[in-house]
Symmetry: C2
Subunit: 152 residues, 2 copies
Amino acid sequence: MIKHNEIERENIMKIMSIPEIKEYLNNNGIKPSLPRIKIFEYLNNYKSHPTADEIYLALIDELITLSKTTVYNTMDLFLKHNIIIQILIEENEIRYDSLTSNHGHFKCIKCNKIYDFKYDLADISIKELNGFSLNEYHTYIKGICKNCSENK
Amino acid sequence: MIKHNEIERENIMKIMSIPEIKEYLNNNGIKPSLPRIKIFEYLNNYKSHPTADEIYLALIDELITLSKTTVYNTMDLFLKHNIIIQILIEENEIRYDSLTSNHGHFKCIKCNKIYDFKYDLADISIKELNGFSLNEYHTYIKGICKNCSENK
DNA sequence: AATTATTTTGTAATCATTACATTTAATGAA
DNA sequence: TTCATTAAATGTAATGATTACAAAATAATT
Ligand SMILES: [Mn+2]
Ligand SMILES: [Mn+2]
Ligand SMILES: [Zn+2]
Ligand SMILES: [Zn+2]
């Protein structure tokens, strides 16, 4: 179970080939079964931050025996091995992201697309949190994306 | 329906008396019925950022006919009139906050307490979001609070 | 091949939230 | 005050995402 370094983490969002995904899962202690590979591929190589249901619907045509339970099980497994994170933006829906390094999300309320952005909350000193130990940062912003503003 | 200014907003988190809550609801176009007053009082004067269920359980002894539906209806009404916000920290649970001005939340993973902190994301320029219009900022941090660290 | 462990699946249960229809309370003419 | 109208609160049932659980399929090991 090799620990990945920062440079490798930065690369996670790059599109990965099937052999690369296999190796990545192996390196993180996950046996790369077909559903796991395909689910990770979809998560990592497709632009969106999908829900479990979206993953299921995207893959069911190809993996015709896939069950939703498998998607949920796989998400739990990926979470346990820290190769994905959950993101909460709308109530009652969990989205998943294979980019695990700290970054923010922007959700456009017109086209519903979720954009990543870099930022570091550690830059800001928060006096109310002196003496606290901060482990996980989450930030999301809602608004209207550039594309939707222009195409009025 | 009077528009409140910044100074008034800053005061929201201050503990409010029943007559003050009545006036506040009236000023925001909400008829101050007993359940509404009590729910807002609990939300505003009690430290926590409760779920609908926590509000219900906290008030049912006093308002013995209160229904959970009323709590949800009231939350929707308060949201529509912008006197509360929703906060999402854990999956599948919606919490509510009567402090509507932009601020962050810290959730301690030991004692589960949720702390407020001030900060302004607008201070940070995010180059990926040039040309986007940003409407709502949400930030939460998870970790261990000072109190829980000290009482090891 | 037979045995054992792992992975995947289908079905049923859970639980927060929502929908809806009914009851209760408040308002406001007559 | 009484009657009619509107608003508020309630109880019950439905929804829908997630989880629990046990069986079936697959892979690994002997
Ligand atoms: Mn992301
Ligand atoms: Mn708060
Ligand atoms: Zn958009
Ligand atoms: Zn604590």
